[in-house]
Symmetry: C2
Amino acid sequence: MKALTTDELLTQFLAGDVRACGRMISLIENEDATARELLHRLYPRTGKAYRIGVTGPPGAGKSTLVGKLAKECRKQNLTVGIVAVDPTSPFTGGAILGDRVRMTALFLDPGVFIRSMGSRGSLGGLALQTREVCDVLDAFGRDVILIETIGVGQVELDIARAAFTTVVVLVPESGDAIQAMKAGLMEIGDVFAINKSDREGADRMTLAVEAVLEMRSRTDEWNPKVVKTVATGGTGFAELLESIWQHRRFLSESRALERSRAEYVRHEVTELLDQRIAERFWKIDAVRKEFADWTERILRHEETPYEAAEQIWQAWLNQGGRIE
Amino acid sequence: MKALTTDELLTQFLAGDVRACGRMISLIENEDATARELLHRLYPRTGKAYRIGVTGPPGAGKSTLVGKLAKECRKQNLTVGIVAVDPTSPFTGGAILGDRVRMTALFLDPGVFIRSMGSRGSLGGLALQTREVCDVLDAFGRDVILIETIGVGQVELDIARAAFTTVVVLVPESGDAIQAMKAGLMEIGDVFAINKSDREGADRMTLAVEAVLEMRSRTDEWNPKVVKTVATGGTGFAELLESIWQHRRFLSESRALERSRAEYVRHEVTELLDQRIAERFWKIDAVRKEFADWTERILRHEETPYEAAEQIWQAWLNQGGRIE
C-alpha cells in the first residue's frame, strides 16, 4: 500500500472514498503527527451531522438496536456513521460469529460506515479521540452519527453525554431499573428504549422507568420519552427514531443545541491544551531528573509522593516555571 | 459538629478513631486544601496493607463476594478496608434493601471499614482519589484493602490493575467468558472466581477460562488460579483467599511486588503533577482571555479547535510560557 501525502488523502476523503475515511480515523487512533492538521482542515465541513449516543448495561442489546436505528435512518435517506466504543459490542473487535452474520447486511451498505474505537491509549484520550472520529464522519458527510458506549464506566458515560440526544437502552429484567439508577443512567437519558419488550415484565418496566423519570430533576423542560422496542423482531424503531427527532426539534427550538455546542467546543479546546501542556512538561530534562531522584527517595521510604510533587513543582517554578 | 484542626484530626485518626478515618476520606473526596498535607503526614505509615482488586461484569456478584472475602480475612485475624468504586455495587449509594440487610453484619464489625467512592469529579481524579483513599486505610492500619470496581470502563479497569492481586469474578452464563475476553478482563486477572458456581455450566465455564488462560501471553511466570465460589452459600472463599496469598508469595519471591510498587509510585507522582500544572495553567489571565476569544471564533465558524489550541499555546509560549 503506497503511502499517501496529506493532500492526496484529503482529496480522496472529500471525494467520498471510504478507505480514505478509515485511514484518517486510523491516523487519529495512532496519534499520528499529521492527524491534528487533517482535523483542522476538515473542521469547516463539520457541524451538519446529528450525533446520537446509545448507552446502557451490557446485554441490553445496544448493538442490535444501533443496527436497527441505522436501517431506520437509511429508510429516511440519511447516511449513517456508527462509532462503537463499547468493549462488549459485536462491532468492536471480537464479535461472536452470530453477531457478525447479523451485522453483515449493515457492513455491505455503503450508506453505513462502522468504526470501533480501541480501548488502548490514555484515559482522557478515548473521549477526545471519539469526538475527533465523530468530526471526521461529520466532515465525511454522514447525516447521523450513532455512538455506542457501555453505560457503566466514567469515560463511557461522558462519551454518551457528548451526543446531542442520548438514548438509554434497558431490558425488562428485575433489578435492571435499579442498576440503571445506580449507574446514573436515568439522569442522562433523553429517550429510553425498553428493548426485548416482548419479554415478560416490559409494561411493568416501562411504568417503573416513567415513574422514576417523573421524579427526575432536570434543568431543561424536556420530558424524556420511553419507547418499547424488540430489536430482534424490528418492532418500535420508527417510533424510537421519531422520539429522537422530537428531542432534536426541542433542542433547536429552545436554543439548547447552541448551548450544548458551545460547551462541546470549550471542552474540546481545553482537552487539547491539557494534553499538550502535560506532554511538554514531562519533556523538560530538569523535571525528568528531579522526578527520577524523588521517586527513588520515595521507594527508599525517605519521602512521600505529596512532598515529591510539591518539591519537583517548586524546583521547576524556581527555575522560571517555563515550558519551551 | 465542631471543626477539628488538622493536628486534632490526625491525633484521633492515629488513635484508631473510625470517624476520623471517614472524615479524612471526605476531605480527599472534596479536594479540601488540607488533604494533601494530611496525606503527606500519613504516608510514612503506609506500605503495610495488601491491596486486592475485585472486578468483573455487572451482576457477577462482586459485592457479595467482597463481603465473603472480608469475613474470611477476619477469620485470619486480619482487619479489612473495603473501597467500592463500582456504581452498581450495593456498597455504593443506592443499595437495594435486601443488599443492605445482608451487608449489615459487615457494617457492624469494627474490623471492617467500608467506603464507597462517588463518581463525581474529574475522570483522572477518580483513579488518583481511589489510590489516596487506599493510602489512608493503609495508614489506618488495615491489613487488607479490597477494592471493588466494575470491569467494563477504562478508568475502572485501571483502578483494579493498581492492586497487587486482581481477582476477576465471572458467572457461568453463556457469553460471559466471551464478554470478559472482549472487555480485557482475561488479561488482567491473577485469580479468577467462577461465582454462582452451583448453577449449571460452572464446570464448562471453568474449563473455558482455563483454556483461554493457557493461551494468554504474560511477561511474568504466574499461572492464574481459577476458583469456584458460591457467594450466597459461602462456599469456596477459604480457597479463594488462599489463591490470593499464593499470588502474594509469588510476587514477593519474584521481587515483582517491588517493581509494581515502583510503578505505582511513579504513576502517583505523575498524576499529582499533571493535575497541578493543568490547574495553574487555566488560572493564567492571558490564557483565559485567549480561550474565551478563540472559542467565540469557533462558535462563529471562523476557526477550528485545533487551530485555537495551537494559537492559545503559541501566544502563551511567546509571552514566556510561564506558570507562576
